[in-house]
Symmetry: C2
Subunit: 104 residues, 2 copies
DNA sequence: GACTGACATCAGCATGTACTGATACTTTCA
DNA sequence: TGAAAGTATCAGTACATGCTGATGTCAGTC
């Protein structure tokens, strides 16, 4: 069966530090220095996670002198939100109808 | 900062087999035998994953003779969907406003 | 009561993951 | 032009994760 939600994206967001980065970037475009300061993570650890987010296609980079700005791709989050909304609606309707398959 | 989405729940759903189980249960209440048949997973592997879903508070169990039925808790999925919807809206508004913090 | 079916639990193993420290590369500054 | 700042990459390590096979427990059947 086709998955209802993209598990590769879920795995990327399931890490607390990466989710924090995504949440910060949802509010404003920031550079690596900003993100180190806001998250308290070490610079190389943050870079590792930023690479995971880039590879997952969730953020774009934007050089600015020797700073690198990261910008979230809102459509990726919107797509995930849509998938969860569908799953939630299906679950709600099923609970309301109390659908239960017979014993085998 | 408080997380925008529950990463413990995300980690639970980030596994393809567990997400498949949740998707099947979103459509109807099923027993372990049904789930083995629908997913093709081995019985002990499926039981391991069902335990993870129970421990995460995503499903309830319902004994029925020697069968065990699993019922999805729709409010858990609805809550996650709501969290993603908020994150998506924040991201969309930020992209529209083109918010970018100045260089440090 | 023995047997069968359904399913939960557990230990072991292979693989994946997240962090650290070291280091390389690029840009800017003095 | 060399030093400093910013950031990316990499190897190593410790821990987490997912699967398997074996096995235990409980409900139903004969």
């Amino acid at each position: 069966m086709l998955m209802s939600v993209d598990t590769d994206l879920l795995r990327v967001l399931a890490d607390p530090l990466r989710l924090q980065i995504v949440t910060l970037l949802a509010r404003e475009t920031l550079c690596t220095t900003h993100l180190v300061a806001e998250t308290g993570a070490r610079q190389t650890n943050l870079s590792n996670h930023l690479k995971v987010l880039r590879d997952a296609g969730m953020v774009d980079t934007e050089p600015c002198g020797r700073f690198t700005y990261y910008r979230l791709k809102p459509d990726v989050i919107a797509s995930l939100a849509g998938q969860f909304a569908e799953l939630a609606e299906t679950a709600r309707a099923t609970a309301a109808a109390d659908r239960k398959r017979s014993c085998p």
